[in-house]
């Protein structure tokens, strides 16, 4: 039967070519959409490595760059924050707070290998505030900096990327070519840009006096009134400071929306395109079947059952779809083979599989009704209309 279908398709190759082209284009669109979906979902399903629950950020600006004043101010803020019962833990940090719009990248080197990584300048209590846990080593403390030692905690991704198979703890890595850092701890994940961020390189080192933004872990009783009191009390420490308090979970939501909205727009546009292709396919099949009533009649007359007629037309459409998919597959597979983008190959494999499945489902969906109509034609009527 398949050979029979091939012969008929080949004979009508011109009219089938357009249908195949439509399916080819749809396949590429679906491949892109599914690959992006799988990539986004995988990132979303990856542990974040930090918790935003009841974490507030205080964007502080002392409006001075004198180191001695900065240090005094930090001391003042530390004492003040420690005196507030609702604040469970706190940490100073540089501007690139999690889910903020700031980013800071540095080049790290180990045994000649160089990689770029996000640098987070943070305090000793940073993991306590964000509920982070280390998978190896420990978080740095003041004692680690004795004798000019520069301790860092790195993510597992950075360890793999920079150190390869080497045990990370105790390794000396260079920052921007010369400054040496000692790895004292490893965290498995730290996805700080959004819930959809890919697991990436990041390392943490002790904050300096110029890193005076605050991250606060507040108690369950901390409410808007407390937030206003906190802002007010900090402002009272120095009226010239600029203070802005934000909630980390809201900051995360904002970042998530910035990632999701373009993706959703893309999905809607692609969905519309695929819907149009489906509609076109449906129309072509309908027209095709009404043009081939005589053929349906003779097939029924020589013994084809309704199911066989239906199966024949669906089968024919699936074969044409398979040609479109085959052509699309040829182009799609080039992306992982040629490493066009720095994305795991399995994501493309999933993208291809899901696109194939979607195309077959769309094709069957579009072919089902016209084919059922074809099967329902009474043989005598079909032969008479011819």
């Amino acid at each position: 039967m398949l050979q029979h279908i091939f012969k008929l398709i080949w004979k009508k190759k011109r009219s089938n070519f357009l249908m195949m082209l439509e399916i080819f284009v749809s396949f590429l669109i679906l491949f892109a959409v599914w690959s992006l979906s799988v990539y986004t979902y995988r990132n979303y399903a990856t542990p974040a490595g930090l918790s935003t629950e009841r974490v507030w950020t205080v964007f502080l600006n002392y409006n001075t760059d004198q180191d001695s004043v900065l240090r005094i101010n930090n001391e003042l803020v530390t004492r003040h924050v420690q005196s507030i019962r609702e604040i469970k833990s706190f940490s100073f940090a540089a501007n690139n707070l999690p889910f903020s719009f700031s980013s800071s990248n540095r080049e790290l080197e180990f045994k000649g290998k160089k990689v770029l990584s996000e640098i987070m300048l943070v305090g000793e209590d940073y993991p306590a505030v964000l509920g982070m846990s280390l998978s190896a080593g420990q978080w740095f403390s003041a004692a680690d900096t004795v004798g000019g030692r520069r301790p860092v905690v790195i993510t597992r991704h950075l360890a793999r990327d920079l150190l390869g198979a080497e045990e990370p703890i105790g390794q000396q890595i260079s920052l921007d070519g010369d400054e040496k850092r000692t790895v004292v701890g490893v965290v498995d994940y730290f996805r700080h840009k959004s819930s959809f961020q890919e697991d990436d390189n990041c390392f943490f080192e002790p904050a300096g006096s110029a890193d005076y933004n605050l991250l606060l872990q507040v108690g369950t009783g901390a409410n808007a009134e407390f937030e206003a009191q906190l802002a007010h009390s900090l402002q009272q420490l120095n009226p010239d400071w600029t203070i802005e308090i934000q909630h980390l979970d809201q900051m995360k939501d904002t970042q998530n929306q910035l990632v999701l909205i373009p993706i959703l727009i893309l999905f809607v546009v692609c969905g519309f395109l695929v819907f149009n292709v489906g509609l076109g396919l449906f129309g072509v099949l309908f027209q095709n079947i009404s043009r081939r009533k005589g053929e349906i009649g003779i097939r029924r007359a020589v013994g084809a059952t309704k199911m066989q007629v239906m199966g024949y037309f669906i089968g024919e459409t699936l074969v044409i779809a398979s040609f479109g998919i085959g052509l699309g597959f040829f182009f799609a597979i080039q992306i992982p083979l040629l490493h066009v983008l720095d994305v795991e190959a399995s994501i493309y494999v999933w993208g291809i599989l899901l696109a194939v499945l979607s195309i077959y489902l769309i094709t069957i969906g579009c072919a089902f009704y016209p084919s059922r109509q074809a099967a329902a034609i009474y043989p005598a009527t079909a032969l008479h209309e011819e």
């Binding site: 008929l8 004979k11 005589g294 053929e295 003779i298 020589v302 013994g303 059952t305 309704k306 043989p379």
Partner: protein
Amino acid sequence: MIQLTSIEKVYRTDTVETLALNNISLHIDKGEFLSIMGPSGCGKSTLLNIMGLLDEPTTGQLSIGHQEIKQFNDRTISRFRNQKIGFIFQSYHLINDLPVLDNVELPLLYRNVSGKERRRLAAEALEKVGLSNRMQHYPSQLSGGQKQRVAIARAIVGQPEIILADEPTGNLDSTMGNEIMEILEQLNRADQTTIVMVTHDENMARRTHRLVRLFDGSLVSSNTFVN
């Protein structure tokens, strides 16, 4: 072989009811060559379609080979058509996008027959109708008579017990018509195939065993010929 009892066929639309066949009772013996004549629109093709299970009677009973057809489902009817009946139509009803050999193979596609066996049987059927040199031609490359011979080959490839021919010579000139008629006579004689043929041609009808005439959906006469 074929037994029609009080067959009625009514076509209904929202406003009109047309009686196409009125109380037709007819018995056709195995190996008989029967012709049906009558003016256009008298119900000849409808009767043939009912005999071929391509259409259902509104009332009445149809038995083929002692099997009453009424209780058959689509699958059984299709299998019955495939194994017992071969059709020949005035307008051939060949699939223009398939070569002659594939057209002839068509009934075997719906049987459990291997590709090789299908080709062999189709080639054999084409040889019987004298078209073995046209197997790879397309219907558009054939004359009317050749197309009808392909249609006959398709009808006989599954070795059916019954052939139903709806004006098989209607679109052909007399020479071609005679050739087709000879093939049908040969099939009837050699294989004892029961043939029911609708025709407008009195001379062709006289070459069959029996002629029945229809008028306004009713059977009006039956003449037996000694050939």
